[in-house]
Subunit: 410 residues, 2 copies
Amino acid sequence: MALVVQKYGGTSVGSVERIRNVAQRVARTFDEGNQVVVIVSAMAGETNRLVALAEEISEFPNEREYDVLVSTGEQVTIALLSMCLQSMGYKAKSYLGSQIPMLTDKVHAKARIKSIEDKYIRKDLEEGTIVVVAGFQGTDGEGNITTLGRGGSDTSAVAVAAGLKADVCEIYTDVDGVYTTDPRIVPKASKMQKISYDEMLEMASLGSKILQIRSVEFAKKYGVVVHVRSSFNDNPGTLVTKEDTDMETVLVSGVAYNKDEAKISLLRVPDHPGIASQLFGPLSEANITVDMIIQNVSHDGFTDMTFTVPKTDYKKALGIVEEVSKAIGAGGVKSDENIAKVSIIGVGMRSHSGVASTMFETLSREGINIEMISTSEIKVSCIIAAKYTELAVRVLHEAFGLDRQDNDES
Amino acid sequence: MALVVQKYGGTSVGSVERIRNVAQRVARTFDEGNQVVVIVSAMAGETNRLVALAEEISEFPNEREYDVLVSTGEQVTIALLSMCLQSMGYKAKSYLGSQIPMLTDKVHAKARIKSIEDKYIRKDLEEGTIVVVAGFQGTDGEGNITTLGRGGSDTSAVAVAAGLKADVCEIYTDVDGVYTTDPRIVPKASKMQKISYDEMLEMASLGSKILQIRSVEFAKKYGVVVHVRSSFNDNPGTLVTKEDTDMETVLVSGVAYNKDEAKISLLRVPDHPGIASQLFGPLSEANITVDMIIQNVSHDGFTDMTFTVPKTDYKKALGIVEEVSKAIGAGGVKSDENIAKVSIIGVGMRSHSGVASTMFETLSREGINIEMISTSEIKVSCIIAAKYTELAVRVLHEAFGLDRQDNDES
C-alpha cells in the first residue's frame, strides 16, 4: 500500500462535471489499494473573480483581509470534492490550511510554509478516509489565514507529501508532462520521462510555467518525488526527482525562453568602488528584482553596466536609473524592451565542455546577435532580440539533439 | 461611549456599492464615539449559488462539508467590508466564527451557540479597531465549521451583543421596523416603536419574517435590546425589548398571518388512552412539526382529531396519517391545503378579557368561518379558508384600533 498525494489545479476542478472526473480518478487510486490525500485549487476563474472584488473595493487591499477573501476559493472546492466522493460511497473529509494545521510565517499573500501537523490526517488515512486538502492556504499560528501566492497549491501539495512522507506527489495539470521545450514553438519537442530538481528549477524560473518554483525547491529539500501529469488522460507524465547517472549522459535536457524581461544600460559610468551599490541599492529598495547583470571591462576609467528587470517593473526601474545616472555623472541611459532570454539547461553540462560554444555558434549561424550572456553550472542563457526567440529555440533544440526522432509517441 | 453591535443582511451587502454604503454607516457610528462590532451575512444570492453547487454534486450533501461550503459566503463579505473600512482610513479586522471563537454544538447546518469568547474582540475594540464578524457560522470546538441555519446571522449578532454586553444590537434589514401587520395588505399598518420579546416571538413564528426566531429567544434570555431598522434610511426602527407597563395598555399589538400550513383531520377515531401518541409518534419520527392540534369531545366512544403541518411536509404527513387510520380503525382522513392562520398578538391580553371574543365576532361579521382556534397567554390564532386571509387581517387590524390615524408618518 502506497501513500499517494495528488494535486489538481483550477482547470481540472473548473466545473461540477470536472470535479466528478477528479473524484473518479481519486477513487480509482484509492481502490487500487492506496491511501490518498488530494490537494485542490480554486475552481478556474474563481480566484480572479475574488481578486476583482477586492480591487473594486480598494486599490491596495489589506493583505490580511485579502487572504481571508481569496482562501474561500479553495474552501469551496474541498467541500464539493468531499461531497462528491461521499456520494460515490467513499469516506472523505476536507481540511482547510488552518485545520491541518499548515503553519506558515506571517507574510500575507506570499507566506512560506514552516511546518505541517500530520497527526489528524494520518488518523483519517488509517481509518480509510480520503483526505481532501485546500491548497494555497495556511495559518500563521495566531489564528490568521495566510496564502502562499499564485501557484501556491503546488507547494501545498509537495509540503503535504513531505510532511506525510508520501511515496509520490502527483501534480495533475492541463499538459501531460515537462517538455524539452515549448511544443507550440517546436512541434518535435518531446516529453521528458525524468528531470532533476535543479534542471526543473531552471526550467521553472526561465519561463516554463508548469510548477511553482517554490514547490520544486521544497521537493528538492525534502526529496519528494513529483510526478507531473495530465488530468485529462492516463499517460505517464514526467518525474521530477533526484539527479541520477542517466541524466548526466544527456548534454542538454531542455531549451527555455522568457520574454518577460527588459534590458537597461547605464553608459560611461565612472568606474570606482561602490558604484554598483549606488545603482542597485535604490532598485532593491524599490523591490525590483534584477536578473542578469553585466559590467564591461573598464576603458579610461569608465565602464558600461547592463542589466535586466521584469517588464512589469521596467518603467519604475528606468526612472530610478535616470536619477542615478545624473547623480553619479554617467553618460546616459539606454534601454530595450524587445528582448528575450533563451536558455539551455542540463546537469550533463557539469561533466561536458563545449556546450556554451555550441550554443553561441548555433545562434551565430542564424545571424542572431547575442547581447548578454549568463551561465551557471547547469545552464547557459543568452539575451537576444525578441523577434528571434522562436528561431533560436528551434535551432538550439535541434543542435542539442532534442528533436523527437520517432513519430509513435503521443 | 457605547458599544454598538450592527448586523447587515444579504440585501444590505449585496454589491460592492452597497458594502461601501454599509462601511459609511459603520464609520459614522464609530465617529460618533462608539465602539462598533459589525456582523454581516453573505452577499445576496451567494448562499443560493453555493447551495445550488452542492445540490448539483449530491442530492443529500454531507452536512459537515455543506457547512465548509456555505460558510464561505460570509467569509467573502467580512473581508470586503474590512478592506473598505481600511481604505477609508479606519482600523478594521475581520473574524470568522472559528476565530472568535463562537462555540456551538456539533449539529451541522443548524447548530446552536454554546458560548462566545470576548477576549480578542474586546482587545481590538479597546485599540480603536472596528470589528467585522462573519454571521451564520461557528465552530464545534474540535476545529469543524458549523452553521446556524438560514437567518442565523441575526442570532450571531444577538449572541455577540450578549457576549460583549453591548448597549444595543441594531439589525439592519430592507424594511424599517416591525409593523402592526403586513403593510402590503393593510396600507394603514403602522411601525411599532417597541415590541416585547414575547410578542416578537409570536410575530416571528406566526409569519413575520423579520428576525430569526432563535435570535429573539437569545435576546430575551440575555436581555439584549434589539433595534430593527432599515439600512437604506436613517429612520428610527422598532425596539425589541423587555416588557414594560406601556405595552400592557395596548390590547393587541399586531396581526400576523401564515399561509404555509395545511390541515389534516383523522375522523371517527376510537377514543381510548394512547391514541394520540399512536398518531403523533410516527409524525415526530418523520421529523414533521405539528403546530395546532384539536381533539373534539367524544361522541359514542369516537372523536375527530385535526392538526396542522407545514405545507412542505403535507404529502409526507398525509401518507403517514392514512397508514395510522387503517391501523387503528379510524373512519378516514380529510385534509385541506387551502387554509391560513390569522393571529392577534399582544401582552395586553394578559390583563384584559374579551379579546378573543372580539376577534371571533369580527370574523363572523364578515362571514368568515373559523375552522380551528388556538390560544396562548398573549395570542389568539384562528384557522380560516385561505381566500379570506387579507380580508381577515384588514378587519382585525381595524377592530383592534391598529389602523394608523395620522398621515404624516413616513
